[in-house]
């Protein structure tokens, strides 16, 4: 079986995917009789290319570095991503573009357009799920297309596969998670006596926090993630603004250390739970007892706990993450669509 891939965005994640595709080409054929051919790459700032015969990924990585993806293009030029999406000869779109976390755009429109054209979609973007999961998953189902998104929460850790494959006919009652690296790392540094501003600067200097860190610090990124989990696994139809939200801006060294003395550790906890027929969600700093697995998630690792009517409590912890682990989640989705996992 051959699947032709169109990559939207060629940032850290899709470049890591390109390297992974090169490294795993033989394993994909041997284990799944699957050949993955990239037929198009679209970026806003580094050019676009389409080649129906397949793009040499090593050449694409080089061309990207020179902001000159066009030199790999064959055929009539495509002026923008929307035109690219209509023109590219592909079976599956990998959407890993920039997204406005307050609107989920333009990622949501791109996913809708790809599904509308009859292409499978794998997205690494929380936006389409936090703002339009119900609509997009219904559209995919109606067209019998794959619409998978493993890398949206906890990078490549198979959190969504867990729900899909491991918890059939289960009612998930509660989901709790520690899902944001920046806030988690800052809280760890506070424990060690490093002041908030200094801890944040360290992370920015190391490229682990953004220049404007408010999205993380204020809990908005966490709100997006718990919205995704609630919508996908609890049948909710939340938006990030529905999540009751307190960031870590007010947390002090004294609070963190006092909690530790009482056998507790403050974490920015994401939580979704059933309240009668409704599903509610919140994000807030919570002092977790040290016997909770979520209390031990440090630095850039992350964890989520599912409580269901069938399994009492199930926790998944991911070790330190990187664009490589995110790209692996994308590849796992592609393989699972090729296996037809979206059909039943």
């Amino acid at each position: 079986m051959e699947l032709r891939l169109a990559l939207l965005g060629f940032g850290n994640v899709n470049r890591a995917l390109a390297r992974l595709l090169l490294r795993k080409a033989d394993a994909l054929r041997a284990a799944h009789d699957l050949t993955l051919t990239v037929t198009g790459i679209s970026t806003d700032s580094h050019g676009r290319c389409i080649d129906p015969a397949g793009i040499d990924l090593k050449a694409a990585l080089d061309a990207y570095a020179e902001r000159a993806l066009e030199r790999l293009h064959r055929g009539a030029p495509t002026p923008d991503t929307a035109a690219f999406l209509q023109a590219v000869p592909a079976d599956l779109v990998v959407e890993a573009t920039w997204m406005n976390p307050r609107t989920g755009q333009p990622a949501t429109d791109l996913v809708r357009a790809a599904l509308g054209r009859g292409l499978h979609v794998v997205t690494a973007n929380k936006g389409p799920l936090a703002y339009a999961y119900r609509e997009l998953s219904a559209l995919a189902r109606a067209k019998r297309l794959g619409f998978f998104f493993e890398s949206t929460v906890m990078d490549g850790a198979p959190v969504h596969a867990f729900g899909r494959e491991g918890l059939p006919v289960s009612v998930i009652r509660r989901i709790r998670g520690v899902l944001n690296s920046t806030t988690n790392s800052i809280l760890t540094r506070l424990e060690q006596g490093v002041p908030f501003a200094e801890a944040l600067q360290e992370m920015q200097a190391a490229g682990l926090a953004e220049a404007d860190p408010s999205n993380d610090i204020d809990g908005w990124d966490s709100a997006l993630k718990i919205t995704v989990l609630a919508n996908v696994h609890m049948g909710a139809d939340l938006r990030p603004a529905d999540v009751e939200r307190t960031g870590i801006g007010g947390v002090t060294i004294e609070q963190v250390q006092a909690a530790l003395k009482e056998g507790r550790r403050i974490k920015l906890l994401c939580e979704a739970w059933r309240d009668g027929e409704a599903v509610r969600a919140r994000v807030a700093p919570v002092a977790l007892p040290l016997d909770s697995p979520l209390a031990h998630v440090m630095r850039t690792s992350s964890a989520v706990t599912f409580e269901a009517d069938t399994l009492t409590e199930l926790t998944i912890i991911e070790g330190d993450s990187s664009p490589d682990t995110t790209a692996f989640g994308v590849l796992a989705d592609i393989v699972n669509i090729a296996r037809g996992r979206h059909l039943a």
Copy 2:
């Protein structure tokens, strides 16, 4: 779709499954268009029954209590389980019988016979996997039959689904786990200053340890489990006797408490790793640092960590387990076979 189930054994697990089937019948139809009908139940001490029209599970639970499953039987009697297995009109066999942990029998022969007859198999029994995984999985594959076993390690927690669905084209380099409740509970009590013999008696009184606990204490149960994980997920062909094994019989209160003072906790650790082309495995008490997720697995919970070339470190922790969670793993397997997960 209808699947007819034959249950081998009607102990804690299959009786919990019967109750779960009653509770989830509507959800199975709604979510998976799946009707599960039990057409036969075979036990050695409580009788056997076959009814091609389907057995009333409430009546079966009552009849079992009276050791009189025969009264639900329709047709010619079957003298033993082997005859039952040939006669029962079924599509899928749920194997949850007693097993000799030193030979994997008679479970292994029963699984072989069921697959040989062309029936899907779901087993909750480690034996067939620890002693004959390679043979039985090849047999199932050749006949395009499902052969799933989620409940063999960590009860219903989707450990095997994790490998199958979450880690495609990955090379698993190392698996570590804390997988035995009896030893884990005893080690917890030693921490609290309760002597070994007393802790063991408590567990026996509560029905959580067997009258002859050597299988757990000596690490043999753990050796079976790491053998299963290595064979299924690392392509190994180990037998339990190949596992280097030290039990917890020599562990003292003093050792456990001294380790805690150094920020470590002694756990009976199961481990499998690659050594060149080979896979090696061992079971031994190990003082784990408290920042390891495996150090926080207490009482009857359990955990496993996978290290792969694609995901650095992925840990699954199951909360306290019971026959209900084991039965759920069996049901998840049945659903996943109905969805064709064994075919690709």
